[in-house]
Amino acid sequence: MKFFVILCTFMCCGNAIAQDCTYSLTGYVIDLHDQETLADATLSIEEGGRVIQTDAKGKYTFKNLCQGTTYSIRVSHPSCDAENIKVTINGDTERTIYMEHHLEELGEVSITAEAPKNAGKTAVESSLSTEDIQANSAGSLGDALNQLSGVSSLNTGNTVVKPVIQGLHSSRVVLITDGTRLQDQEWGVEHAPNVDLNNAGSIAVIKGAAGLQYGGDAVGGTIIVNPRRIPISDSLYGETLITGVSNGRGGSITSTLVKSYNSGWYGSFQGTLKRFGDFEAPNYILSNTGAFERDVAVRIGVNKYSYGVEASYTLYNNELGILRASHVGSAADLANALNSNTPQVIEDFTYTINPPKQEIKHQTAKLNAYKRFNDIGKLSFQYDYQQNNRLEFDIRRDSEDVRPSIDLELRTHSATLDFDYTADNSVVVKAGIVGRSQTNFPDPSTGIRRLIPDYDRTDFGVYALAAKTLDAWTLEGGVRYDYNYINAEKFYRTSFWEARGYDVLFPELVVEDFGSQLLTNPEFTYHNVSATAGAGYDFNDTYSLTLNYALSNRAPNPSELFSDGLHQSASRIELGDIRFDKETSNKVSVALSRKRTNWSFTIAPFANYISDFILIEPTGSQQTLRGNFPVWEYRQTDARLLGVDVDNTFRVSEHIEIANQLSIVKGQDTTRDLPLINMPPVNTTNRVTYTNEKWHHLKVWVESQYVFRQNEFPDTNFEIFIVEADQNVLVDVSTPPDAYHLINLRGQLDFDVSNRSTLEIALAVNNLFDTSYRNYLNRQRFFADDLGRNVSLQLKVNY
């Protein structure tokens, strides 16, 4: 058959020569993405076997082609996927050939995969590479992010690790995983992000609200978790990472398998299993702190020349023990715990996880697609569904009762449509709309009053961003509008409703009176406008300066609005307020950078002024049958956060590098002229790294991590009566723990097992000297020391 075609072609051409074969075909080969011409592209005419290359200006010329003949031309370029085009000659013919130069990898299917580069030009941003992520494979997302300057964490024990960006956390930090805004009940301080770190290819952190395409309420910042990119080629490859740790006597195993085809089709599967028993402080076992995590991620898609579609599903499933000794019955128990140097409960090591514990399941199903249009840009669409199930088990009076105390199901549907203008590579224009519908269902079978009420929420957002590069200058700006509507059905205790004066203010909200409780139907509507503007200037190849301003607004979260009782896991009464208005942040960030191999640094100061900042703090105590409980009330105030992040890297010699980081945040309640509670203390990390590429890519580092004592804190101590002492005792919940210094080591080596497989071995020791310390931002600090020495061994196999 093929012979027949060739024969015909020759016959055809033979005829053509006899006719008129004096015409030429000329044109340019152009990158579809940025309109740049492509030099050294190879063009071959299949009929006749003529091969030529484009010149330095991307121009090509074929001569002596025949009138009326259709030629098949194969076009290829080193960094592009080859393509075939057909051209029919009609006189001297011109034809421009577009190639997808930029798209070397399939990660592009993710709408946001390239977004940080575009949208955060003047915003202060830090990121983690795959290597940084894998070093923390057995840890959590928060542990990995902790390495970045300006990012710390708010912990509950060592498994619930919430990222804090320049002093702000929870609802003020937006988490984007693979283009999807994570909806995982992020409001709670003991709710860690429901993300498997091992599914990430890279993680970027935008410090502040400049990432407008992700949301207008990121007062603290945005964390963007990007998936691994999949190259377009016929390949099957995989990677397995096994980590064993001494502290917790467990480890993790994570495997990724990817199959891709030249046609653009691909599929990948990733699974993670983590299992830990009780972790240990230097002097004792932290009883009931084990964890058991199981995660799965599947992607399948196609990435063609100018369009792509991807479907994906991820499951995150985690069971986490909460330190047994941190469960206290009353303020008196808390006082007893604080006055004791060791936890009140220390048992033998076990892998069993008992209450108090959390069981979390987060599922995301997603479909996205994009289409590129020549000369215009890229249109992307995404639909995703997220279901978050959160079970919290407390110690019940009846130990036979195995029901959770909190049983929440949060279901979220989102649809986004984004447009990227890409025709001119000195301009970035992005615009998009997002719609979201969310339902929270707290299961009443717990037999315990709902902490978070039933609610339906509808969000709508629209944004536009633009950036322009003019020689050394970069200018950018953006604006976003968000609409939020919350329709809640909340049971209030009648006594609380009246004590708050809601019976006078909001009598119309009451739907039904159950005597001691009232069913109410509060509805809230918020209209928020956010904006960002920035400028960057490159002095020369070495120095650059950026300035960014971001305005953001955040609607109060359900916990801030609706809390009205005992929060068992915190052993305090927490009171929200439905009269709260949105909080507004005005943040200015500056970054001065030097980029040279011998010495590079970034100094990034910021000032964040937040009006109607919502915070929670102790306001007194309340008498109950269980004794006195501290009362923590949310309130709104004006706040000011000032700080600076410094990153500094010296390359001393070919093999030795010294890196230094410093983060400072100072938070002030400007209304009351008092420091803000729970601000990260000043901390500095210094690392010396020795690398020798020639000897199995040897890399060894020693790291010193020094965390200062937080000297600025509000005095929130209170007194309670202790029966056994027969007197009032001061409960010191505000004094921060002392400064501490930890030394960490890590060494790694690569080996080629075969020509297709490599093996990487890494040995790490954290807290080398087994130092006892407590961390101000760990809620467990009232009850126990932080983790002792941890030796981990990691094996990574690529195949």
Binding site: G329, L417, P453, F491, L625
Partner: protein, 187 residues
């Protein structure tokens, strides 16, 4: 392009349909807390049949209203032995749940402590014990001394260390802690 548009429209429509359909949920049902203790009742009776009842009721549980204390019956008299009982109720449910039964059933995991303030001339002794022979305390005896007055605290601890020498080394979680100001009067 056309197919993509159609696709997008179909998905948006689908999403709206799904989000609208979630609105037909029923009204949430009221939860009457079954973990709460709203009432602690201490009944004292002496050999000649004089009885005294100390009661603390916190009808709204963890709500803002404080517990209401009451002492009813005859005054507590000097140099007398009383047989006492402690009962716990959850009155947010109807009928009221007698939580004492659960405490007795899980006697190994509970203990009631009696703490008279130093100025109050009374002593207590445990009247019932758990399966291991350690004190439980839902039954007790109270012996008065000379005329005096002061605080008398009753504490219920969940999962205390047993045996123990008192509240100070008992640990566990406090389920109940009520303090009555009482007087021992002349006979």
């Amino acid at each position: 392009m056309k197919t993509i548009n159609t696709y997008i429209i179909a998905l948006i429509t689908g999403m709206i349909a799904i989000s609208c359909s979630s609105d037909d949920d029923n009204t949430p049902q009221v939860i009457n807390e079954d973990e709460v203790i709203t009432t602690v009742r201490i009944q004292l009776a002496n050999s000649i049949g004089l009885t005294t009842t100390l009661e603390s009721v916190d009808a709204d549980g963890d709500g803002p209203n404080p517990p209401v204390f009451s002492i009813t019956g005859e005054p507590i008299i000097e140099n007398t032995e009383y047989v006492g009982s402690v009962t716990f109720f959850n009155e947010t449910v109807t009928p009221a749940e007698n939580v004492t039964l659960e405490v007795i059933e899980e006697s190994n995991e509970h203990q009631v402590f009696f703490t008279p303030a130093s100025g109050l001339n009374v002593t207590t002794a445990y009247g019932n014990f758990d399966d291991n022979g350690n004190p439980l305390g839902t039954a007790f005896t109270l012996t008065t001394g000379e005329v005096s007055g002061g605080n008398f605290t009753v504490t219920l601890r969940h999962e205390p260390t047993k045996p123990n020498t008192g509240l100070a080394d008992a640990g566990g979680d406090t389920d109940v802690e009520v303090t009555f100001g009482i007087s021992v009067v002349i006979q």
